[in-house]
Symmetry: D2
Subunit: 313 residues, 4 copies
């Protein structure tokens, strides 16, 4: 059985693994990411690949990178959180590792992973929505990974959902990312808590009385324990996501919508409101099949598994 | 050279034609559409195809239908303005005409027409935006017509652009169609005129003093003649469209955006504001190639030409 | 003790009463309102006043009218639901009844009634928000009824809360009335029910399976019985109202906000969300006193009691 | 003729003057404001009053302070840009100057100045809108300065005009101040210029090629010279202001709206769009008198003149 290597380069960590043809991880390594130092990142990736290669026969390498990757799956044109500016990552890593390399956007490889071996294994058309610090997305159409004319499609977090809305890191106002991300969840909870809302009292207690110490996992934990305020915060987040997904589905018409990213660990506390809101807002509802909304299955390994699989194509 | 027949079934008229392999129209026929009577429409289409077939050797027939067409390009599941409800149009027309038939959504065939022989002939990835009574869309990706998992994608007029906005015919609030269509153009102009705006005086005069008599072509005509109010109305429309296209391009990443539909006859009076607004609102602008915004070339024949071409595949 | 007569002319009924100096109703009469026939309304009011006058010694008459009343408290300039167009109601009723008459806007007299004898009896500055078919308002400042420069102030239902939002009966888009009224409550509930929402099932059952038969009182009744969907509908309504009141309080700085109108009968199911939302959205919260939000006390008699009291000034 | 002293304490300067009964300034002094040091501000004000008092016989002192002033016109409860937190400014200044002192909000004293001696001298009901770094307001009703129940009314810059809109310094989202202020004008112009808009080219040239160096006066200057982009920026600002004023007028029903603050120096380039937008958005337009929109007359001396006049009441 041929093995390939998948690497997911994030803002804070690099996750690499040797993956078999069924998406099984044979060995996995993780190193901290020296996020702002491009050379250091390449060294770290090279080291990680070589170490895995010393113990396994690797046919090729797939890289998931958090940035705009060109149509040729070689150059990173731009990355918001890493200092890549038009870097030919494919050429550099092929030279340093001696292996064939393919580079792809991180959310795209995660979508591919879920499509091949996870929550979308049974369909041909899938929309992955990752809800973490930001909102990312990947799309599979007719069994092929969608890339767009220039390689920069599926940036679903930057759909404008509120005209003149909140300022986004991308420079626009009112992007979905400002309303449907984990950052939005935390921002709104902190805002309520620091505003003295009695409803947020338990959450504030949980954060030691300091609104700025509130985190996403705290909200999920209290929601699971039945705290009405935290349940409602997840519901409000889910409402925005469901409304955004309804807009996306009007355009993309997926068979399945997969929710991934850290916040999706809240499970049905997030997914049920997403489903309600999606079903209530989809144009033409009642006259068309309704896409299923499912939770991602591969967790934070979706990227490396998808990247490794792309590397074998 | 093989000839095929293309038919575009709209709410008010049926346009049919015999088309050659280069997209050239050999003969064209037009009949009024008995919109609400499904049987009468089928009879009219059959008659039209048979008449064209009596003078030309037709290999197959492509139909563009204003409704949701299933993935098999056979059944019309639902149409907003025609009484089709889950009708196997393909089977019925194949029986009545004795020819092989393919059915496709009307905006999709228009997109295919512009891609093959019109404003998008030189690219592989295209987004067609038709601005008429409503806002429709069609998408070509990697040289293939995009259809979605269930055949109902590319409904770009129902992207939600204003939360809690205007009620749309589809039952949702705040759809792009309510802000970027010819109907929106006329509604806003009538509103200003009937509200006594001095700015709208010339337009009101042109409509014989009756705000309800204002039409889209009047606005375009006065804008061409330099009337500042009408120029501004087209600019406001173009701003909404450009903002919507920026959201769509974040997801679809097209190489070219083609503007069609009746309102696109306003030319650069509409397209320049669309370009400005699109360029100012695209996420990642400056770090990615910018899709060109072009005017459609095939006018209201894009649908029949595209349908005829699909029929030969 | 001097007695005066108060009359509240609504779109569907005319309510009149003889009121003492403490706001006590000595006798009350009610007749159907022939809403569109101005002459018939005047006859009905005259008859009602004369009948009450035959049994009590009435010093003067106060009229609450659902329309724009001029600064002199005499002419009705315009009414949305009654055919008054610049009618000198004061002169006509003084002639027909032989008594001194004062005319005032219906929400203003209700605000005055609550200020003098109801939920605002202990403060000098009050904002009344009436939530019925529409959203109305009345304002008392420093112990005086606020009227504005032209007599048409306090039209709080027409504060714009959503740019490009829902079309209002007043011709504008996005007025508070479209989001915070009883009509909005019913519209949203019907929409969910007819959209097939499982959440709305109990409500739909209660309406005999016909979404169009859903009414405001049904929603309140089910909410009281603990139905989560109906509780949530009232909460959504309360959220809009609380946000609107926060904007109004930034400008008007009232000591007390009184919620009246038919929907306020939902009590704390509506008022608690209003309080939460108001408290969370008031600018400068934490650095300024927070107005109390109270339920109206005089019910649908606030208008006639307030009108009668104004008549004695 | 009795003379009083008016002092306007802003974030960057303190302006004081001796004013006669007709609003005439007999002598004026200006000192830099040590904004964050409360004690230093009091010393500076005391010194300024004493110096003026050494040359004129001053009966009393009026202070305009940029903060929440309590109902008794004595304590500053909170100020956004100065470190006042519940300070009895009246008591402290009466002790240090030996004169009777009245403290009032800075926008309120400006409204009073324009009402008594400026653009609103001929009416009883006035709304002042100051458009500077922020958006402030003051209201005169029936010839009296409106203060609200707790002294903190007329905060018109914090009317919410966009749900989920831009984050405001006050902690809320979507306040008018974020769309209708000089800061908004500059933000949007910089945004267009740094985004590479060709339209903004002249403005960018004027700022030496540095978008961050664009200022409000540059925009006004180029707009006066006919630059279409700058004219449009002022028009967009005016549109937001006119829409906000339409909401405010629905509630406050003023006879005159006075536009003041630094940005109002753009004159009709700003006021005409405000008038158009106000007229097009006022609820009930056509059935009610339309308030006039006028430019302020007293410039940045409105505050000290108004404060001095309040001191004599």
């Amino acid at each position: 059985m041929t093995l390939t290597c998948g690497v997911d380069i994030g803002g804070t960590k690099i996750l690499g693994g040797v993956v078999d043809e069924d998406g099984g991880i044979v060995e996995e390594l993780r190193v901290e990411s020296p996020a702002t130092d491009v050379e250091a990142i390449e060294k770290a990736v090279t080291g990680l690949v070589k170490e895995l290669g010393s113990r396994h026969e690797i046919a090729s390498v797939g890289i998931g990178a958090a940035g705009y990757v060109d149509k040729a799956r070689a150059r990173v044109m731009f990355a918001p959180n890493i200092a890549w500016r038009d870097v030919d990552l494919k050429a550099e890593l092929e030279q340093s590792t001696g292996l064939s390399v393919v580079v792809e956007n991180d959310a795209n490889v995660a979508a591919w992973g879920e499509f091949r071996f996870g929550a979308g294994h049974d369909v041909d058309d899938l929309l992955l929505v990752t809800v973490g610090t930001g909102v990312g997305g990947g799309v599979v159409l007719d069994g092929e990974l969608f890339r767009g004319a220039f390689g920069v499609g599926a940036e679903i977090g930057h759909l404008r959902v509120v005209p003149g809305g909140l300022l986004c890191g991308c420079g626009n106002y009112g992007c979905l990312e400002q309303y449907g991300s984990g950052s939005a969840l935390v921002r709104e909870a902190r805002r309520a808590a620091s505003g003295g809302s009695l409803l947020a009292r338990h959450l504030l207690d949980r954060a030691g009385g300091d609104a700025a110490a509130i985190t996403g996992p705290m909200i999920t934990e209290l929601a699971r324990a039945g705290d009405p305020f935290c349940i409602e915060q997840l519901r409000d987040l889910g409402r925005w996501l469901g409304e955004g997904i309804a807009s996306l589905a009007a355009v993309l018409d997926p068979a399945v919508v997969v929710l991934g990213g850290g916040v999706s660990e809240a499970g049905d506390l997030l997914l049920d409101p997403v489903r309600d809101s999606f079903g209530a807002n989809l144009t033409g509802r009642g006259h068309r099949p309704l896409a299923q909304v499912r939770r991602a299955r591969l967790g934070n390994r979706a990227g490396l598994i998808g990247a490794a699989d792309l590397a074998r194509r």
